[in-house]
C-alpha cells in the first residue's frame, strides 16, 4: 500500500517538473518572439524553401526543455514521447497565446515585434485561425526530440550529428558559398548544395546522408583506433601531415572566403593577438585587467599620429617605422597605469583598470585633446602596412590578416617562453598566493609591473595593426567593448590556453561579425553564451589542463573532506 502511494507521489512530482520546465520553455519561446528574433531571423533560411532561422528558433525553444526534462533519465519510449509532447505543447501555448492577444490588442507600442509578421511565422500564414499551429507543431517537435533521446545510441548519435551539421552548414551557407563558386570545378557543386539563402533541399539531404554514412563508416572501419594502432614511425607521419594541412588552411582562409569574410577573419586574427596578450596578464599573473582598450588606443593613436598624411599626422612615417614606437609607448603607459594599482587585488583591480580604459576613451574623444587627436573625427589617412594595387593578392584586409597572424604567432611564442621561465613561474606563484610568493623573495612591484607592461605591449601592437586595417582611428573605435571582448574571449575559450583564445575569438568575434545582419542581438547572444559557459563549462571551451582540473576537483575535494575531516589539513585558517 505504502509503496503504491510512494510511486504515485514520484510520478506526480515528475509531472510537476514536466510542467515547470514546459513553462520555462514557453517563456523562452515568448521572449524570442517579443524581442523579435523570430521576425528578424525569418528572412534568413536554414534550408531554402523549407525552414527559416525564425522557425528554427521556435523549434530549438521546444527541443531544449525536452532535453532538460529527459536528460539522464531511464524512461520507456512511450512515456518519454508523451512527456515530450506535453512539454512541447506547453512551450507552444505561449506563442499561441501571443497570436491571440496580438490579434485583439495592439501590443506594438511596447513590443515592437509582436507584429503581423511574427503571427504569420507562428501560424504558417494562417493568422488567428492557425493558433493551433505552434501548439501542435511544437508538441510534435517535443515528441520527436523525446523519441530521439530514448533511441539507442546507434541511431541517436548519427541523427543528432546530422541535425547539428544541418544547423551549422545552414547558418554558414553564406560563408561556404563564395569559395565553392570561385572555382569552376566546384561551382556546380556549390549551386547544387547551397542556395543564395541557406542550403538547398538537396544539400540538406546530402548533408544528412554524408554525416550518417560517415558516422557508420567511421564505426565500421574504426578510423581513430586505426591511427592509434599505427606503428610509431607511421604515426609520426600522420601528425605533421595534419599540421601542414592545418597551416595551409589557415593561410588560404582569407582568399577562399571572399572579401567580406576576409575582413571578418582579419578582425578575428587581431583579437587572437590581443587575447594572447591579455592571457599573459590574466592567465599567468592572474591580474584581471579590464582596461585593455587603453593600451589598444595608445597603440592605434601612436601609429595614427606618426603616419597619417592628413591633418593630425605629425611625422608621416611609413607604417612599419611607427609600429615599434606604438608598442614601446603602450608599454610605458602600462607601467604608468600599473604603478598606482599594484597594491589592489582581485575584483578591485578589475574596477580600477576599467576606470583607466574609460579615462582613455573619454580623453580620446574630448575637446581638450581635439587639437592633437582630432576628437570624434579622429585621425584619417593612415597608410596601409603594405601598399599594393587593389587587385594584388595582398590587397585590403588580407594583408592585415597575415600581419595579425604573424604577430599572434610571435605573441604565442613569447607567452610559451615566458611561461617556462623564471618570470613565468614568479607570475604563477603570485597568482596562486601573493604573500607566499613575496616571502620567497619575489619582488611584487617589479614582477606585476612587468606583467602589465607586456600585456600592454601586445594591446598596443593590436591597436597599431587595427589602425592599419581601418586606415583611420576614431574615438568611437576605442570603446569599453574592446576590453570586454578580449576578456570574454579568454573566459569562453579557456583561461591560460592558447588554442582556447583562438576558439574564443572565433566564437565571440567571428560569429557575430559573420551575422552582422542580426547585430541588434549581438549582446543578447553574448550574455546567453557567457551565462551558459559559467553554468555548464566554467573552465572554457578548450581549457588549459590545470584550470580545468582546478574547477572540477572542487567537488571531489568537498566530498573527500567530508569523509576524513579529522585528518584533513587545516583549511584556510591563519
Amino acid at each position: 500500500m505504502t509503496t503504491v502511494r510512494a510511486a504515485q507521489t514520484a510520478a506526480a512530482t515528475d509531472w510537476r517538473t514536466v510542467i515547470r520546465i514546459g513553462l520555462l520553455g514557453g517563456f523562452v519561446a515568448l521572449y524570442l518572439c517579443l524581442v523579435g528574433i523570430v521576425e528578424v531571423f525569418q528572412p534568413r533560411a536554414l534550408v531554402a524553401n523549407f525552414i527559416t532561422l525564425g522557425e528554427t528558433s521556435m523549434v530549438l525553444a521546444a527541443v531544449a526543455p525536452v532535453f532538460l526534462v529527459l536528460r539522464g533519465k531511464q524512461i520507456k519510449p512511450r512515456r518519454a514521447v508523451a512527456i515530450g509532447a506535453v512539454v512541447g505543447a506547453i512551450t507552444g501555448a505561449f506563442p499561441a497565446a501571443l497570436v491571440i492577444i496580438s490579434a485583439s490588442i495592439n501590443l506594438r507600442a511596447m513590443f515592437l515585434h509582436a507584429s503581423p509578421v511574427t503571427t504569420e511565422v507562428l501560424t504558417f500564414g494562417l493568422g488567428v485561425a492557425g493558433v493551433w499551429v505552434p501548439i501542435v507543431g511544437l508538441a510534435a517537435v517535443g515528441a520527436l526530440t523525446a523519441l530521439l533521446l530514448t533511441a539507442p545510441a546507434s541511431i541517436q548519435r548519427p541523427v543528432t550529428d546530422a541535425l547539428l551539421a544541418l544547423l551549422l552548414i545552414g547558418l554558414f551557407a553564406g560563408l561556404l558559398r563564395p569559395p565553392l563558386l570561385a572555382s569552376t570545378v566546384t561551382a556546380g557543386l556549390g549551386r547544387l548544395l547551397l542556395a543564395d539563402n541557406g542550403m538547398t533541399v538537396i544539400g540538406a539531404i546530402v548533408t544528412v546522408l554524408v554525416v550518417v554514412g560517415g558516422r557508420i563508416g567511421i564505426r565500421r572501419i574504426g578510423m581513430r583506433s586505426r591511427v592509434d594502432t599505427l606503428p610509431p614511425e607511421r604515426k609520426r607521419v600522420v601528425r605533421p601531415v595534419s599540421l601542414v594541412a592545418l597551416v595551409l588552411l589557415v593561410l588560404w582562409l582569407p582568399h577562399g572566403v571572399g572579401p567580406f569574410f576576409a575582413q571578418v577573419v582579419a578582425v578575428v586574427a587581431l583579437y587572437v593577438l590581443m587575447g594572447l596578450g591579455l592571457n599573459i596578464t590574466l592567465g599567468l599573473a592572474g591580474l584581471l585587467d579590464l582596461g585593455f582598450v587603453a593600451f589598444f588606443a595608445v597603440g592605434a593613436y601612436t601609429v595614427g599620429l606618426l603616419t597619417s598624411t592628413a591633418e593630425y599626422g605629425i611625422a608621416q612615417w611609413p607604417f612599419w617605422a611607427a609600429v615599434p614606437f606604438a608598442v614601446i609607448i603602450a608599454m610605458m603607459f602600462g607601467a604608468f597605469f600599473g604603478l598606482p594599482i599594484l597594491g589592489i587585488r582581485g575584483d578591485y583591480l578589475a574596477i580600477a583598470t576599467l576606470g583607466f580604459g574609460e579615462i582613455i576613451r573619454i580623453l580620446a574623444g574630448s575637446d581638450l585633446l581635439k587639437p592633437w587627436l582630432g576628437g570624434p573625427q579622429g585621425i584619417i589617412n593612415i597608410p596601409k602596412p603594405i601598399e599594393v594595387s587593389p587587385d594584388n593578392w595582398l590587397a585590403g584586409p588580407v594583408q592585415i590578416y597575415y600581419i595579425a597572424l604573424v604577430a599572434a604567432v610571435i605573441v604565442a611564442l613569447v607567452a610559451i617562453r615566458l611561461r617556462a621561465s623564471r618570470i613565468g613561474r614568479a607570475w604563477i606563484a603570485i597568482r596562486e598566493d601573493e604573500d607566499v610568493a613575496e616571502a620567497l623573495g619575489i619582488n611584487l612591484v617589479q614582477t606585476k609591473l612587468l606583467a602589465y607592461m607586456i600585456g600592454a605591449a601586445f594591446a598596443g601592437l593590436g591597436g597599431a595593426i587595427f589602425a592599419g586595417l581601418l586606415g583611420s582611428i576614431f574615438a568611437s573605435s576605442v570603446t569599453l567593448f574592446v576590453s570586454i571582448n578580449v576578456a570574454s574571449l579568454i573566459i569562453i575559450g579557456g583561461m591560460g590556453s592558447i588554442p582556447g583564445v583562438v576558439v574564443g575569438a572565433i566564437f565571440l568575434i567571428g560569429i557575430p561579425e559573420a551575422f552582422r545582419e542580426f547585430s541588434e542581438y549581438r549582446f543578447l547572444f553574448y550574455g546567453i553564451a557567457l551565462i551558459a559557459m559559467m553554468r555548464f563549462r566554467p573552465e572554457g571551451l578548450l581549457p588549459s589542463k590545470i584550470i580545468r582540473r582546478d574547477l572540477h576537483a572542487m567537488h571531489e575535494e568537498l566530498e573527500a573532506n567530508g569523509l576524513d575531516e579529522e585528518q584533513a589539513p587545516a583549511g584556510a585558517a591563519g
Binding site: L418, S421, R425, D435, A437, L440, G441, I442, I546
Partner: protein, 274 residues
C-alpha cells in the same frame, strides 16, 4: 653574536597585544623552539620576523641588519625562509616548479633573455632544475617532481614546503608547526629530518610547535609564550618543571608534569595576513 636578535617587540591588533615586549635571540647553528597554548602569539611573532607584520615597537636585527620594516622579499634575500602552519604551497604548480620558485631570487634571467631564449638563460634554467631535483631528493620526494603540489600526500606536502624554503639557501629557517596533523611515526620522521637540516646543511632553525614531544626532543633552547608574553625560557628540562609553564598549559592546580597536549587544530586567534 646572535644570528637573530629581537628586542622588546610589541604587535597590537586594535586593543589586543598579540605580542608584548618580547625579547628573544637565536645563536647561529642552534635549534630553538617557541611553544605556548593556542593564541599565545607564536605565529604573530613569526609573522613579525618574516615581514608579514610590522611590530609597533622594538627592534629586529638579523645577521647584523635591521629587518624591521623591510619588505618580505628583502627579508628573504637576507636569508630568512619560512613555512606555514596551514601548508601554503602553489597548488597548481608541480613539486619541481614549487621548489624552482624558491630559487627565484638567486637567478638572473631577465624577461628579454627568456623571450629570446638565450644560451645563458637556457644554461641557468638547466642548472636551476638540476638543483631543484637535488633538493627534491633531499626532502625525500625523488621522482615526484611532476606531481602537482596539492596531489601530494599530506606529509609530502609538508616536506615539499620545507624544500621550497630551503631553495632560497636560508641562514635561518622558520618552521611553523611542521608536525601538525601527523601521526607519531610521521612526527618522529619529521623530527629527525629537522635535525638533519641543521646537522647536514648547517641551517639555524626556529621552530613553533604544539606537540611537546617534538620540541623536547630536538631543541637546545625553548621559549614559552602566553598571552603574547614570554613566561619562561631555557632548556627542555628547565621548561618541563617550570611552574608558570604548567599553569599556562593546564591552569592553576595542574599536574606536576606537562603531558603531551592533543594536537588541537583550533586556528590562531591572530587575524590573517591577507
Amino acid at each position: 653574536m646572535a644570528l637573530l636578535e629581537v628586542t622588546k617587540i610589541t604587535k597590537r591588533f586594535g586593543g589586543l597585544n598579540a605580542v608584548r615586549e618580547l625579547s628573544f635571540s637565536v645563536e647561529p647553528g642552534a635549534i630553538v623552539s617557541v611553544i605556548g597554548p593556542n593564541g599565545a602569539g607564536k605565529t604573530t611573532f613569526f609573522n613579525c620576523i618574516a615581514g608579514f607584520y610590522r611590530p609597533e615597537e622594538g627592534q629586529i636585527v638579523f645577521d647584523g641588519t635591521t629587518i624591521k620594516g623591510l619588505r618580505r622579499d628583502q627579508i628573504a634575500h637576507l636569508g630568512i625562509s619560512r613555512t606555514y602552519q596551514n601548508i601554503r604551497l602553489f597548488a597548481n604548480m608541480t613539486a619541481l616548479e614549487n621548489i624552482m620558485v624558491g630559487e627565484h631570487h638567486r637567478l638572473h634571467g631577465t624577461w628579454l633573455g627568456a623571450i629570446l631564449n638565450t644560451a645563458k638563460v637556457r644554461a641557468e634554467e638547466l642548472a636551476n632544475a638540476d638543483e631543484a631535483r637535488r633538493l627534491l631528493e633531499f626532502v625525500g620526494l625523488k621522482g615526484k617532481g611532476d606531481v602537482l603540489a596539492d596531489k601530494l600526500p599530506y606529509g609530502a606536502q609538508r616536506r615539499l614546503e620545507i624544500g621550497r624554503a630551503l631553495a632560497n639557501q636560508p641562514k635561518l629557517l622558520l618552521l611553523d608547526e611542521p608536525t601538525a596533523g601527523m601521526n607519531p611515526a610521521e612526527t618522529a620522521q619529521m623530527t629527525a629530518f629537522i635535525r638533519s637540516l641543521r646537522d647536514e646543511l648547517g641551517i639555524t632553525i626556529l621552530l613553533i610547535e604544539h606537540q611537546m614531544r617534538v620540541v623536547m626532543g630536538i631543541s637546545e633552547r625553548i621559549t614559552v609564550l602566553d598571552y603574547g608574553e614570554k613566561i619562561a625560557e631555557g632548556t627542555a628540562r628547565e621548561i618541563q618543571t617550570n611552574a608558570k609553564v604548567i599553569e599556562a598549559y593546564l591552569g592553576t592546580g595542574g599536574a606536576a608534569e606537562v603531558p603531551d597536549l592533543p594536537d588541537d587544530r583550533r586556528p590562531e586567534t591572530s587575524p590573517s595576513v591577507s
